[in-house]
């Protein structure tokens, strides 16, 4: 080991051209990835005059931080953001609880039909969103006894423009069930058996013994669920009409009309919609990366 270490240390001392090229390449790629976000931030604090400037200026001549206040005043962004948070957090909680139970049962409690059910969940992963989205919309629209509908689902608007439509269809994703199962599979059988001998019920074993051991799985699934829920666009667009139920991704389009786009406001709003995910990513980076990687490798 020792000679290798010395060689390595000696190598590190010289500046190798390959190394420099590697850093420069990576820095250039990172810059390309980041530029649109920098552009967004800078545009969000420009005056209309600076935005219309040809050729465009990178930095504003006058920093118009007031754009944020004006954007918040021009559209109910606080409401949009609240709605997005409520939906993303509900989806996260429901997914984590329901999918983890299912994943645990499929991984550790063999019962009749369990492998068939698991196959079903795996198959569900393959169905494109767009094959399901129309009938899902129709189920929401014709939900019996809601929104003025009669028992056959006729006469009213069902779950359209309600919290139900925004939350219930996305409450469990087969992908979460699948991920949880993979995580629970790796736990040792001895633990489970010891707990059973101590007289703990199956639910107790799941909740008190096994689940605390897969905390990273919970953080992973929670982050992934929050991300896809926060970024979802088409479904909330389809099932809501009223401003009080609009989510932030849909709400952004208010600044984009046929004739005139208010770029500064639009970019201020876009920044507001982007920042929570970026912050969450930076905080949970380790788990995010691990979760995506696990999903890929297993």
């Amino acid at each position: 080991m020792a000679p290798v270490d010395t060689v390595r240390r000696a190598r590190r001392r010289q500046v190798r051209p390959g190394r420099v090229a590697l850093y420069l390449t990576l820095a250039a790629i990172s810059l390309v990835m980041i530029v649109p976000f920098v552009w967004m931030l800078l545009t969000s604090v420009k005056t209309p005059g600076d935005i219309a400037a040809v050729p465009p200026r990178l930095f504003p001549t006058k920093w118009a931080f007031g754009n944020y206040v004006d954007a918040l005043r021009a559209a109910p962004f606080a409401t949009y953001a609240r709605n997005s948070f409520v939906i993303a957090i509900s989806h996260t909680l429901l997914n984590v609880v329901i999918a983890s139970m299912a994943g645990y049962a499929l991984a550790r409690l063999r019962f009749r039909g369990s492998s068939l059910i698991f196959l079903g969940f795996v198959g569900a992963l393959m169905i494109p969103t767009y094959t399901k989205i129309l009938p899902e919309f129709l189920i929401v629209r014709f939900m019996p006894l809601f929104g003025g509908n009669d028992i056959t689902g006729q006469g009213g608007t069902g779950w359209l423009d309600t919290w139900w439509a925004l939350i219930i269809p996305g409450a469990v994703s087969p992908f979460s069930v699948f991920l949880f199962r993979q995580f629970y599979l790796d736990l040792p059988v001895e633990l489970e058996e010891a707990a059973r001998l101590d007289g703990l019920g199956e639910l107790g074993i799941y909740a008190r013994i096994m689940t605390p051991l897969v905390k990273p799985a919970f953080i992973t699934v929670a982050l992934l669920t929050f991300e896809s829920s926060w970024n979802n666009f088409l479904w909330p667009l389809l099932v809501t009409k009223s401003d009080s139920l609009r989510v932030i991704q849909v709400g952004l389009s208010v600044f984009r009309t046929e004739n005139d786009t208010q770029w500064a406001f639009l970019m201020a709003g876009t920044t507001l919609a982007t920042v929570p995910m970026v912050v969450l990513f930076l905080i949970g980076q380790r788990y995010f990366v691990q979760g995506f990687a696990t999903a890929g490798i297993k």
Partner: protein
């Protein structure tokens, strides 16, 4: 309790615990899938009850020039975004798989577009592509070139959309490749070095075959993702100009929610499903599938 009683308790608990998720999947995935198949044989505008029309929707599909264009566009988009982004992602992953200071910063920068909503991303790119005051043409004019009106040009709109797709898709592919690279057995490489295999030789004879499961996964999920991209087209081009960027998903959306032809939209969505299924199966054959993965 007897041994049998224990087993029964376990089975009952298992069924109970899987029940909520199963019920949810049956209602929101099972029924919609069956309904999509049934509705594809009907003419249905939501307001009046569905009317059985047999194979008429599928016959209409065959003669639908716009949908044919959408299939072509989707294929072009997938062909350019998936392999190109995979190549770039693998290169970046190889670069990041060395001992580097600031590796986490590079990784974060490359991955961030992935966690950002496509809508937000598309809005920013809309601005970048603005012919008069956008960043793209500013850079081109700095180089002494005249940039096109990207999104309103039938020639340039598709490439512009593809660039956004590649840009946003690199992060996740890079990450999966990076994770796979880090789990490769180092002793094989040491043995290869001892045998005098060059780095290039090691890459093609060791790394590429060992990365096969990761490649299969990245390819399948990326193709499925690319075939279903909707948000950026919705914001960037609305399928235009002259249908040059319309995608299958966008046509499904238009048939269903602008023209209220639900049956026709279901038929279109089944074509999408069939294409994805065939692509996945073919790819499984070619790459040897996900053997070696769990």
């Amino acid at each position: 309790m007897s041994r049998q009683g224990l087993g029964r308790a376990r089975r009952r608990a298992g069924l109970l615990m899987v029940a909520p998720a199963l019920l949810h999947a049956l209602i929101w995935i099972g029924i919609p899938l069956v309904a999509a198949v049934v509705l594809s044989f009907t003419s249905y505008d939501v307001l009046t009850p569905p009317r059985f029309v047999g194979l008429a929707n599928f016959q209409d599909l065959l003669g639908d020039q716009v949908f044919r264009r959408a299939v072509l566009n989707t294929s072009v988009y997938t062909f350019f975004t998936v392999p190109v982004a995979m190549g770039i992602a693998l290169l970046i992953a190889l670069m990041l798989n060395t001992k580097l200071a600031g590796r986490a910063i590079f990784r974060t920068a490359i991955f961030i577009p992935q966690v950002t909503a496509t809508i937000a991303v598309a809005l920013v790119w809309l601005w970048i592509y603005d012919p008069r005051s956008g960043l793209a043409n500013a850079i081109l004019s700095f180089l002494g070139l005249d940039g096109p009106a990207w999104l309103s040009s039938t020639t340039w709109a598709m490439p512009a959309v593809i660039v956004v797709g590649i840009w946003q898709g690199i992060g996740l592919k890079m990450l999966i490749y990076l994770a796979a690279l880090q789990s490769l057995p180092t002793d094989l490489y040491e043995a290869a070095s001892v045998d005098g295999a060059s780095k290039v030789r090691q890459f093609f004879s060791l790394t590429v075959p060992l990365l096969r499961p990761a490649t299969f996964f990245v390819f399948v999920t990326s193709v499925i993702g690319a075939f279903q991209s909707f948000d950026q087209v919705y914001i960037l081009t609305d399928g235009g100009p002259a249908n040059s960027t319309t995608m299958m998903t966008y046509e499904i959306y238009k048939s269903a929610f602008r023209e209220f032809r639900m049956g026709y939209a279901c038929a279109q969505s089944l074509v999408l499903f069939a294409m994805l299924l065939i692509l996945t199966l073919v790819n499984r054959r070619i790459t040897g599938g996900d053997r070696g993965t769990r």
